[in-house]
Structure formats: structure tokens, C-alpha cells
Point group: none
Chain length 175, copies 2
């Protein structure tokens, strides 16, 4: 199984924090928690964190998610490489949109489905590494084709939908 490293969960509800801790323990090597975002930036300075799960409401009686957006922004500013997944009790489309536009990687509503949550977090981390270059993908596919055609250039070219000469050239070029 793959290793998904350290996740930092920020939520002011202890019960939810406990539930999340339980749910995430199987996937992540370490699950750090904070009941208040105040120490969030400090925490990021001293611990290596691979992904953050951030609740959006911390001010009592205020549930517009403004809080979460502010903290999201702070994280993005100081640690733009750490992906942030937002979580909120209110399935507010516009809030989700704003969160994603400010760089959140995903948006989850409570009550959440454990499997789905884990899957989404994994997705975010999987997507974190960047994609291969078009040339690389092409080169690999060409190798596959040649392999399958037992080195027969003409057939491989036809299979690939390019001319024999082009394949011939690409082979030189791409080693």
C-alpha cells in the first residue's frame, strides 16, 4: 500500500476531530489535529505536513465560511505547495466555488462518507505530482507499440496512426 504521509486536520469540534482521526488513521502515517487555526501557521513551520483538511467555520454564530477562506488564503500564501481540502457543514455551492478558486483542492460537506473522504484526499495527493510530458507519453507508447509488433516498424507505425518514416525519425529522436 502507498504511503500518504502526514495530514493536519483543523476543526473546532472535538467530537468531529476524533471521528476524523479514526477515519484517517488507516491511510495516513500521522494524523495531526488542531482545534483552532490560531496555531496553524506555527504548526506548519515545525512539522512537515503533506495535506491539510480545514473546517470553514470557527467564529461562533458565524457560519458563512469566511473564516475558513481567510485561513485558506494564509496557508496558500505561506505554503502554496501544501494542498488544502475544505470541509463544512453547509453544502453551499458558492462557498465551495470560492474555496476552490482560492486554491483549495477539494470541498467536502458534513456529514461525510468516510470512504469518499479518504478517496478524495488520496486523489488530491496522487494528483500532486505533475504529469508526464507529451513527448514522454508518446515515447512510452511508441515503445509499447514496437514491442507488440515485435519490432516491425511498418506495422507499428500503422497501429500508431503515423507514417513509417515519422516513426523512424521519432525512434532516433526519442532514443
Amino acid at each position: 500500500m502507498q504511503n500518504y504521509g502526514t495530514i493536519l486536520v483543523v476543526d473546532d469540534n472535538e467530537a468531529i476531530l476524533t471521528a476524523l482521526k479514526y477515519c484517517l488513521a488507516g491511510t495516513f502515517e500521522r494524523v495531526l489535529t488542531l482545534t483552532s487555526p490560531d496555531r496553524l501557521l506555527a504548526q506548519l513551520e515545525q512539522e512537515e505536513v503533506n495535506i491539510i483538511l480545514l473546517d470553514m467555520n470557527f467564529t461562533l454564530g458565524v457560519n458563512n465560511g469566511q473564516d475558513g477562506l481567510v485561513w485558506l488564503q494564509a496557508i496558500r500564501k505561506h505554503h502554496p505547495e501544501i494542498p488544502v481540502v475544505l470541509i463544512t457543514a453547509y453544502a453551499d455551492v458558492s462557498l465551495a466555488v470560492r474555496g476552490l478558486k482560492r486554491g483549495a483542492s477539494d470541498f467536502i460537506t458534513k456529514p461525510w462518507d468516510n470512504d469518499e473522504l479518504v478517496r478524495k484526499l488520496k486523489d488530491v495527493l496522487d494528483a500532486a505530482d505533475d504529469l508526464a510530458t507529451l513527448d514522454e507519453v508518446e515515447a512510452e507508447h511508441i515503445r509499447r507499440a514496437l514491442d507488440r509488433c515485435h519490432g516491425n516498424l511498418t506495422k507499428a507505425a500503422e497501429m500508431l496512426g503515423i507514417s513509417r518514416q515519422t516513426l523512424y525519425n521519432k525512434m532516433k529522436h526519442l532514443q
Copy 2:
């Protein structure tokens, strides 16, 4: 006789599911069924599936196939090697086109002809040895990149190692 392995059928209508089960039992070693796509990805994690037959409408009263497209995309994302055949009660050309462009292997309308259905499924599996065209591979990779960059052309182009204009052109060309 050849062995066509395991097929996973997803349709919310039990009667149809039963009928399909009977129809496919002769060809496939195992016929797995799901009445809802919710557990689809989970199922794929724990069972080896060789081909998926996916209905396109699961939301009551909504028959535009959007549901199916979303699930198709999810499957393609996590298991791009498993061929998906779409099935729907509505012979909607544009839906079929969209489905195929998103990587479905075939598109079947209800009521179906048993022999034809089986033939098409076999064809898909038989054709699985043929490699994709270079253009197809390229197109799919471009879609992935755009997805990861949330549609940001500039970033996707950089990630792919091509110029923004080229990506722009390819996008028109490859739809």
C-alpha cells in the same frame, strides 16, 4: 471457447439487471451486478473486472445521462484500462458522442438484442490488444493535464511541455 473473464453490470432496474445477468452468463466467467454506481469504485478496488456495462441514468426523473457521464469519467480516471460500454433507454446521439469521447468503448440502447450485445462486448475485449493511436493517447493525456490544472491552459501546456498555442490548437482539433 475463449474466456471473457469478469463483467460488471451497473443498472438501477432490477429486472433489467436480471435479464442481463442471464444473457451474459454464457459468455462471461463471472457477472457482477450493482444497482447503484455508488459502490462502483469500491467494487473495482477489490475485484478484478475486465469490462463494465454501465447504465447512464440513475437520478429519478433525470434522463440526460449526465449521471452516467460522471461515473464514466470517474472510472476512466481511476481505471483507464478497464473498457466501459454504456447502455441507455434513450438513443441520444449527442449523449453517445459525449460518452465515447470520454473514453467509453461502445454505446448500446435499450431494448437491446442479446446476440448483438454479446457480440459488441466480445469485440471490445478482443480489440483490447490493439494499441491506441498516438493521437488518442495524446488526446487522453491532454485531457488529464487540463483536468489537473483545472482548465488552466497556460499551466497545462507548460506541464505537457508544449507551447500554449499548440495546446490551444490541439484542443480544437481533438475536441
